[in-house]
Subunit: 361 residues, 4 copies
Amino acid sequence: MSHNTFGHLFRVTTFGESHGPAIGCVIDGCPPGLAIAPEDFAADLARRATGRSRHTSQRREADQVEILSGVHGGRTTGTPVALLVRNTDARSKDYDDLADVFRPGHADFTYQAKYGIRDHRGGGRASARETTMRVAAGVLAKRLLAERFGTVVRGHVAQIGELRPARFDAAAVERNPFFWPDPDMVPALEAYMDALRKSGDSIGARVEVVAHPVPPGLGAPLYGKLDAELAAALMSINAVKGVEIGDGFAVVAQKGSGHRDAILPGGFASNHAGGILGGISSGQPVTCAIALKPTSSLRLPVDSIDSDGRPVSVEVKGRHDPCVGIRAVPIAEAMVALVLADQYLRHRGQCGEPAMERPDR
Amino acid sequence: MSHNTFGHLFRVTTFGESHGPAIGCVIDGCPPGLAIAPEDFAADLARRATGRSRHTSQRREADQVEILSGVHGGRTTGTPVALLVRNTDARSKDYDDLADVFRPGHADFTYQAKYGIRDHRGGGRASARETTMRVAAGVLAKRLLAERFGTVVRGHVAQIGELRPARFDAAAVERNPFFWPDPDMVPALEAYMDALRKSGDSIGARVEVVAHPVPPGLGAPLYGKLDAELAAALMSINAVKGVEIGDGFAVVAQKGSGHRDAILPGGFASNHAGGILGGISSGQPVTCAIALKPTSSLRLPVDSIDSDGRPVSVEVKGRHDPCVGIRAVPIAEAMVALVLADQYLRHRGQCGEPAMERPDR
Amino acid sequence: MSHNTFGHLFRVTTFGESHGPAIGCVIDGCPPGLAIAPEDFAADLARRATGRSRHTSQRREADQVEILSGVHGGRTTGTPVALLVRNTDARSKDYDDLADVFRPGHADFTYQAKYGIRDHRGGGRASARETTMRVAAGVLAKRLLAERFGTVVRGHVAQIGELRPARFDAAAVERNPFFWPDPDMVPALEAYMDALRKSGDSIGARVEVVAHPVPPGLGAPLYGKLDAELAAALMSINAVKGVEIGDGFAVVAQKGSGHRDAILPGGFASNHAGGILGGISSGQPVTCAIALKPTSSLRLPVDSIDSDGRPVSVEVKGRHDPCVGIRAVPIAEAMVALVLADQYLRHRGQCGEPAMERPDR
Amino acid sequence: MSHNTFGHLFRVTTFGESHGPAIGCVIDGCPPGLAIAPEDFAADLARRATGRSRHTSQRREADQVEILSGVHGGRTTGTPVALLVRNTDARSKDYDDLADVFRPGHADFTYQAKYGIRDHRGGGRASARETTMRVAAGVLAKRLLAERFGTVVRGHVAQIGELRPARFDAAAVERNPFFWPDPDMVPALEAYMDALRKSGDSIGARVEVVAHPVPPGLGAPLYGKLDAELAAALMSINAVKGVEIGDGFAVVAQKGSGHRDAILPGGFASNHAGGILGGISSGQPVTCAIALKPTSSLRLPVDSIDSDGRPVSVEVKGRHDPCVGIRAVPIAEAMVALVLADQYLRHRGQCGEPAMERPDR
């Protein structure tokens, strides 16, 4: 809702800085009885983690989750689930030169403008390190959705620079370090990324996420629309500059006769809408896409100013991803799952359990 | 926050259906002392209204605003400002045939799925009629921002189908019925829209909005990011399927060395970021864009089902816009203004009055 | 939650001033399918209304409720239910002398301190006129609770000045103008009130409310406790200065061995707790009490200051209740019903439908 | 706002169970620049702690606060301040016999009813152990208020059983283990408590809190009233069954001519209102009182049932306070400070900085 809390009934509050002692989150409102153990977070945290291939930042965090509360006998109790992850591989000295400098493309300038004080080490609160806790909270949300509806929330990288997959092989996505659905292109991608890294530059990316099955009826008019909350959730991820639902920006050039999804007795004939009509899920797959900007932390110099307004040249030496969009896949999945879990509980509150079947039956 | 309320400190709750007796809103948390009179709403409501040219729906509403509370002696008192607009030109009989039918591309199916009951007349709560109140509330938000910061929030149509303006003449935008910034193209646009209307089809559009000046420091980590809230606000507008901040989806193919905006002693050298870094305003113009789908209400028939699941063919006879994106311009402006006003008050709450100058001074 | 909105899932926003054109409310989040018609509000509004006996203010309002939205075919649709009541008997000229004067015991001074501007006519927003909409919204909440659980929420006056009922006859409460449970004392009460009115003075009162049956499980740790929300709801009523749950302040002198309610296989042996343990309903009757101060609007003069800080003597000529506590009965019932309705929906959101039976079965 | 979060702009989320690995809280929205160090929490935590005299539970916790985030260079940064306290002296085996039994007067029964699962050890989430974090968060709120307005928030015990202080010596309050303002009565109180402890029984208490100076203007109509939020905050404390503002329940027998506080050019002539008029602070001392029930955990047996509904006799062996009201003093102070801090920020958001002076000057 505000500041550092996300969601209404399934509410997540995160805390922690990139180079502070720890990061963590409190998940309040989780239904009781969900089975959860510390090791259940490992898989998704590993998908998000740096240092697992040469194509991401080389910071290696243990990402060991400690469950501080809200779980008894291996099950959630309905009280706040607090998760803690100690930071173990921060190299704050990399940032000593940056204490009084605003890195272009980063939040340094704006945090200083807002608060008049900032933790400059590793970007502090603005670091993507925080997304660890989104992924961790998302594990609980995914579990809730899977248990109730069999929902699977899955993302993949759909574009890096000008490169687009030539085909979509769902099984391939998790078998390469790029979440790339076209296995034939992986060698070319590796070469592209190696060249990029050597050049000292970075590149943008497009990530797509699909959730299915989603029961019809989730969402609410008008400021609680499912697509509006997905947009906020996805735009809140570091580096995201655009969000699409269904056909997204392609609708600008579409005609109504082609866009609208006909309804047949057996179901919808197409899914241009991305599974959402009037802000409420239709029962079709919920589809969304995001655009992630290229990292601004480069060893290539750029003009900036220091905190006294004097011109400086900035070269960033820390460990950074040449394409932050890649690791955004599990983060985007988590945000989609969190929105759906929260909307599910809110729907149940107002209207009772949603039916998986269609309303006409 | 939820359902039909928008904002935290500057909070707007709207109510009303397209064919009910009235629509209205309650603006709670508005600072005291703002000058406002019923006639102050007229200009923006007229920009949003149908029936002012042949290129929009022919429904003609008086859109007469009654101020029910919260204003004394011509000034806001700090208590809730309630605004009421009676519906005067609803033709509910146009919808008699649709009471038991789900119009493809509309919220009929999903409202029925969610609530098990719906007001089918004119789309009920899901109708764009509701956006009248967004625009009305936006008038107060615009006034607050203008008074404090001199902020101007202005939108224009940036694409209709495949048509894009060849040049940008700000003064031209308000002089044609399309909010189109290239006056030379207006005759061609009129011909395009006339042909479209005759064909019975509809078309999508792209709308861009710029707010400037915006003080640096508005927004908050991490789920109260300015861009995240803009994304939700804009995605909550009927027919919107995509949102961009700054360069938006173009960042996918950009390199970091080109994307990041250098900072010079006199200010930023460019504005790829759209005036927001790390979710907080930088003091540059805040720029955003949305994609609006083509209306699904067409007289061209489409397959659908009725409430018993039987196949039907739907032809929609009501009065509709061939390009709903056009009238979205004042609506999008209003949503941007509402987000900025709310973020301004929240910032003031936590940090005190924002400074218009740069943080390094 | 904030300012002029109450509740989370069952949310009520009220607006309007005592002498403005109208008062009203928006009930957002009401479950769909509840039967409701304009005349359903009459009974409770009449219980709250002034001018029905010589013992209340002589302002006579029609209190005609117009349903502006959210109801279709006589049933709630799940979208916002907006209710409007026009003010018809305001006598603003009674307040002309008070425009620049702070009435002691009223909100004049503090509204001016907060907002720097105020609608002085009849107390403006701070008037008990607003409670009309609490009662109206409470009608929907009561209906929801009655339909789901058979809950009855009933209040009575338990003390006026030093007078206390000698016995409790539930049937008598609605048969006298004092909501007084001891029919034998009504003549004495009438004499007391007549004498009080003639003296120009006013008196405090104690009101008690019981809700039963209430399913066990409503409420939440720790800042969403059922008793905490009841306390806020009841303390938000004009003139309330104290709130008790169960035995209330009597617990100060109680011993633990006497206070704790033993549990027998057939149920609790007593109800010192007032139906709430650890902030969560136990299934016993929920009992609460409030203290209402005597009206400060008297024709007896009192020292005060004007807006320039100069001493003045204030005599209030408007039409006022000698004992505002009496009419608080339906208002307190409404607030209890609103809290329970909201807690019910929130419980259903997190945990599913509550069971009326005891957890050990 | 909901469940385990308190406040709107100054927001506190707590987590943790009595016998879990840790308790903690996240303070979101704290203004930047406040000086704070781990040792600053020690004084108030010690005032709340058990095991410091023979008159409280003998559990001895280190209550060592670790600041996990939100502080840089000894000052708050405006990002979430997370505090962690490890539990070090839990004796869970004391509760082995109680795993399947509902302790009368405790939340065992209601947690089971709500969630269908509970952490029975030491009361789990319902334990007063959680109040440690309220006190810790209150330290930041007190500091904010002290820095801005010089506000002091101080409580004392005003009644234990039938014992009331004969005189009020503010300096004495912190010099005895009972927060008792009458030093002459301390020996008698000690004898009373010793006898009570030996009897195996417990006793209720009354606690009063005063905050002063408080700027006029804090609070908001109508559901954000300062007194309504104080009522919720105080009623949310374990064992509280009643809340009073100003004269509280005494107003029931007061006349209006005596209750209303006259206003003189130099200020108010009295403070029956408790510093709040119409839900908004008047600039006078804010005064409130609470009633705390006697502990239900006694070694004296009581009838109850087990989770199968069979009758059992319960004797509670854990370490408990014979008068929980005593340690409530710093907790109540913390809740009052949290409400005031949040209301201050919300006021500043809507209306700008409050003035300490009176509105007529």
